[in-house]
C-alpha cells in the first residue's frame, strides 16, 4: 500500500516536472527569421514586462517590436535581420543590472531601448557603457542620468552611450507646478514620494517651482513602493488642509493613494508625473480618480499627425496590450537605433566589434529625423531637444489633455 502510494506520488512528480519542461520549451520558441542568408543583429530591450508596471513596459516592448518588424519587412538594414532581445527588469535596479550584463555578453546586441525607471537606468547604463552599447530611454526623466550629480551647477555627461527621448524631471516637475499654481489656481499642496530616483527627483523639482511661484507645501511625506495601506499617512496629511496632493512615483501606489484619500475625507485632486499616466490608474482608482492630474512627456500621441501612422500600425498588429504612455517614444527610440545600424553596417559584411558599436553611438548622436513624436535630435548631453510636455486630467474615466506646452512658455 505504502509502496503503491509512493509510486503514485513519484509518477505525479515526474509528470509535473515534464509539464514544466514542456511549458518552458513552448514559451522559448523563437519566431523564424525571414531571410536565412541574412546575418543577425540584435536590439536589446530592458523594462518591466511583468509586475505592477508591466502595463507601461509591455506597451514599450510591443512598440519596439513593431519598429523592428517594419524594418525587417522593408529590409532597412541590407544583409542583416534585426532581432529583439527583450529582458524583464521587474522595475528593480538589480534585476536590470543582470539583464544589462546578459545583453552586453551577447556580441550581436548593438543597442538597447530602455529602461522605464530612472533608478534602473542608474545601474544599467554603466554596464552597457563598458560594452559600448548605445542605450536610448523613452521614459527616464531623472536629470542626473545625462547631466551627472551636479546637474544644477556643473552638468557633465556621465555616459556617452546614453540618450533619451523623454523630457527631464526639472522641466516636468516645474511644468506641473506652474500649471497647478497659475492655471488651476491651487495654492497649497502636500507631497508624497516613494523615495525612488524618479519619484524623489520629480517631487523635489515640483516643490522648488511651486514654492518659487508662491505656493505652500503643507506636508511632505514618503512611502514605500509596494505599500497598500496609506490610511495612516493620509490621516496625517488631512489636518494640514492641502489644496492637492502631489505624488512622485508610479500608478500602483498612486491609484491607491487617490482612492484612499477620498475615502478618508481628503477630497482634493492628486497629481503625479508620467509614472501615473496610464489607463490602469483610472481602472483601479475608479470614481475617486476623477479630476486627478498627471503630466507626461511629449504631446499626446493621439493629437499628433506624425503619430497617426504609428497608432494605425500598432492597432493593425493586434497586440494584446495598449501602447500606453511611452509607446510612441519607444517606437521612435527603436527607429533611431535601427537608422544608426543601417548607416553603420547596412550592406556590409562586418563583425560586430567595439568599433562598430562606437560608430553606432556616433550615428545616434547625429540623429536628425522626424519620428512619431515629432522632431528627434539630441543635444550634447544626449537629451532630446523636444521639451514638450502635456498635463492630463481624468475626465469621465479617461485621461484628457488639458494643456500642451513647454515649461516657461
Amino acid at each position: 500500500m505504502l509502496h503503491a502510494r509512493a509510486r503514485v506520488l513519484r509518477a505525479v512528480a515526474v509528470g509535473a516536472v515534464l509539464a514544466l519542461v514542456l511549458a518552458a520549451c513552448g514559451s522559448s520558441k523563437k519566431e523564424s527569421s525571414g531571410g536565412s542568408s541574412n546575418k543577425i543583429v540584435k536590439i536589446g530591450f530592458i523594462a518591466p514586462i511583468s509586475g505592477d508596471l508591466s502595463a507601461l513596459g509591455l506597451g514599450m516592448k510591443n512598440s519596439v517590436d513593431l519598429a523592428i518588424k517594419q524594418a525587417n519587412a522593408k529590409n532597412k538594414v541590407k544583409g542583416w535581420t534585426i532581432q529583439l532581445a527583450a529582458e524583464d527588469d521587474t522595475a528593480k535596479a538589480d534585476v536590470g543590472a543582470q539583464a544589462a550584463t546578459k545583453l552586453s555578453s551577447d556580441a550581436a546586441v548593438v543597442g538597447v531601448v530602455g529602461t522605464l525607471n530612472s533608478s534602473v537606468a542608474q545601474q544599467v547604463t554603466p554596464i552597457l557603457d563598458t560594452a559600448h552599447i548605445v542605450q536610448i530611454s523613452p521614459a527616464n526623466t531623472n536629470d542626473t542620468l545625462t547631466r551627472g550629480e551636479n546637474f544644477k551647477t556643473s552638468p557633465a555627461r556621465p555616459h556617452p552611450n546614453y540618450f533619451r527621448v523623454a523630457t527631464l524631471d526639472s522641466l516636468q516637475g516645474a511644468f506641473a507646478a506652474d500649471y497647478v499654481y497659475k492655471t488651476a489656481g491651487i495654492k497649497s499642496a502636500a507631497t508624497i514620494n516613494d523615495k525612488k530616483t524618479y519619484g524623489q527627483g520629480l517631487t523635489e523639482q515640483f516643490t522648488k517651482q511651486f514654492t518659487a511661484d508662491g505656493g505652500k507645501i503643507t506636508d511632505a511625506e514618503t512611502i514605500n513602493p509596494g505599500d497598500k495601506d496609506f490610511g495612516a499617512v493620509l490621516s496625517k496629511i488631512k489636518p494640514t488642509n492641502p489644496g492637492m496632493i502631489f505624488y512622485g512615483g508610479e500608478y500602483p501606489e498612486a491609484s491607491l493613494i487617490s482612492s484612499q484619500a477620498k475615502t478618508a475625507g481628503l477630497k482634493v485632486p492628486l497629481m503625479g508625473g508620467d509614472g501615473i499616466y496610464d489607463k490602469t490608474y483610472i481602472s483601479v482608482a475608479g470614481a475617486a480618480g476623477e479630476g486627478d492630474l498627471a503630466t507626461s512627456v511629449g504631446a499626446p500621441a493621439e493629437s499628433l499627425d506624425t503619430a497617426k501612422q504609428f497608432i494605425t500600425d500598432y492597432s493593425a498588429a493586434k497586440y494584446t496590450d495598449a501602447f500606453s504612455a511611452y509607446g510612441a517614444l519607444s517606437y521612435d527610440a527603436a527607429n533611431i537605433i535601427i537608422d544608426a545600424i543601417a548607416k553603420t553596417i547596412g550592406g556590409k559584411s562586418v563583425t560586430l566589434n567595439d568599433q562598430v558599436r562606437q560608430d553606432i553611438i556616433k550615428a545616434v548622436q547625429a540623429t536628425d529625423r522626424q519620428g512619431a513624436t515629432g522632431s528627434l535630435k539630441f543635444d550634447a548631453y544626449g537629451d532630446t531637444l523636444s521639451k514638450v510636455l502635456t498635463v492630463y486630467k481624468v475626465e469621465s474615466g479617461a485621461w484628457k489633455s488639458v494643456k500642451v506646452g513647454e515649461f516657461g512658455k
Binding site: E221, N224, A232, P252, S259, A264
Partner: protein, 304 residues
C-alpha cells in the same frame, strides 16, 4: 487627540487583516511546527477566487446587490483557499511529515513561488493589478471627528467574529480537543484513537478559510489585488504571529492588532514615519523577542 484616535482606528483595521492571516500561521505551527510560508499565497488565491466569482459566475443582476454578492464571493474565496491548502498539504507537506524540519520549510517557500507564478501566468491578465469590486458601500461615517469607512467596520467586525468563533471551536468542540491533543503529543494522540492526519488537514482548512476571507477583505478595502499581495501580507502576518507567540491563537490576534497600531502611530508621530513604519514594526518585534523570546503570550494551541 482626534489624530491619535484616527490613527488608532487606521491601525486597528490594518491589524485585523494581519491577525486573520496570522491565525493560519500560528495554528499550523502549533500542530506540526511547520512555518507555512505559502500561507500568504493562500490568502492571495482567496482574493483572486473571490474576484472570479464576482466577475465570471455572478449574473449582472446579482453582482451589484451586496447582500447576495458578498456572501457568495466569500464562500467562493474560502472554497478556493481551502482546496489549495488541502492539495498543498497532501502533496507538498504530508510526504515530508517525518523529514528533517528544514525540508518542509523549503518546500513551503517553493509552494509559495509556485502559486504566485501560477496565478501570474494563468489568470486572465494576471500580471496586472485587478480592480476589485467594493461590494458594500464605499462611503464613510464620522464619529467625533474620526472618519471611518464602512468597509473598515465590516473588516474589523468580521475578523473579530471569526477569531472568537475559532477560539470557541478549538476550546469547546470535540475536534478542537483532538487538535489540542495532537499539538501536545501527536504520537500519544494517535494511540488514543485520534486520526492525526485528519486533524492536520482540518487545521489547514481552518487557516485557509480565514485567509480566504482576509483576501476578500483586502480586495474590498483597496479595490484592487495583484498576484504579489500574498508575499507582504504573509510576511507581516508571520511577524504578528511571532510577536504574539507563535502557536498561540490569542497571541496571533494580539500580535496582528499591535503591529497594525504600531505602524499607524509611527507614521503620525515619528518624523519620516510613513517610510520607516516597517522598521518600527520590526523594532517592536526585536524588542519583544529580546525581552520575551517566547512572544507576548506563549502557549501552544494545546492550551489556547
Amino acid at each position: 487627540m482626534t489624530q491619535f484616535v484616527q490613527q488608532l482606528v487606521n491601525g486597528t483595521v490594518l491589524g485585523a487583516t494581519y491577525g486573520l492571516i496570522a491565525l493560519g500561521y500560528t495554528m499550523v505551527y502549533g500542530i506540526i511546527q511547520l512555518i507555512n510560508f505559502a500561507h500568504g499565497e493562500i490568502f492571495m488565491v482567496g482574493a483572486f477566487a473571490g474576484l472570479s466569482v464576482w466577475k465570471y459566475a455572478l449574473p449582472d443582476s446579482l453582482a451589484h446587490n451586496g447582500w447576495v454578492a458578498l456572501p457568495l464571493v466569500l464562500v467562493g474565496a474560502m472554497l478556493a483557499s481551502v482546496i489549495t491548502a488541502v492539495v498543498m498539504e497532501r502533496f507538498a507537506y504530508r510526504p515530508l511529515r517525518h523529514a528533517p524540519r528544514l525540508a518542509p520549510l523549503i518546500t513551503a517557500i517553493g509552494v509559495s513561488i509556485f502559486l504566485q507564478e501560477a496565478m501570474r501566468l494563468n489568470y486572465p491578465n494576471g500580471r496586472r493589478q485587478q480592480a476589485f469590486p467594493r461590494l458594500i458601500s464605499s462611503g464613510t461615517f464620522t464619529a467625533g471627528g474620526v472618519t471611518i469607512p464602512w468597509v473598515s467596520v465590516f473588516v474589523v467586525v468580521t475578523a473579530v467574529g471569526l477569531m472568537i468563533a475559532l477560539q470557541t471551536f478549538v476550546r469547546r468542540s470535540k475536534t478542537g480537543k483532538a487538535m489540542r491533543a495532537t499539538s501536545q503529543d501527536p504520537d500519544t494522540a494517535r494511540l488514543m484513537g485520534i486520526d492525526t492526519d485528519r486533524i492536520i488537514v482540518i487545521t489547514f482548512i481552518l487557516g485557509a478559510a480565514l485567509a480566504g476571507v482576509a483576501g476578500v477583505m483586502q480586495g474590498m478595502r483597496f479595490a484592487q489585488i495583484d498576484f504579489r499581495i500574498g508575499f507582504i501580507a504573509g510576511l507581516k502576518a508571520f511577524t504578528a504571529a511571532v510577536l504574539g507567540g507563535i502557536g498561540n491563537i490569542a497571541g496571533a490576534v494580539l500580535g496582528g492588532f499591535l503591529l497594525g497600531i504600531v505602524e499607524a502611530l509611527a507614521t503620525q508621530y515619528v518624523p519620516q514615519g510613513s517610510a520607516w513604519k516597517d522598521v518600527w514594526a520590526f523594532v517592536v518585534l526585536i524588542l519583544v523577542l529580546v525581552f520575551r523570546p517566547q512572544g507576548l503570550l506563549h502557549e501552544r494551541v494545546a492550551r489556547t
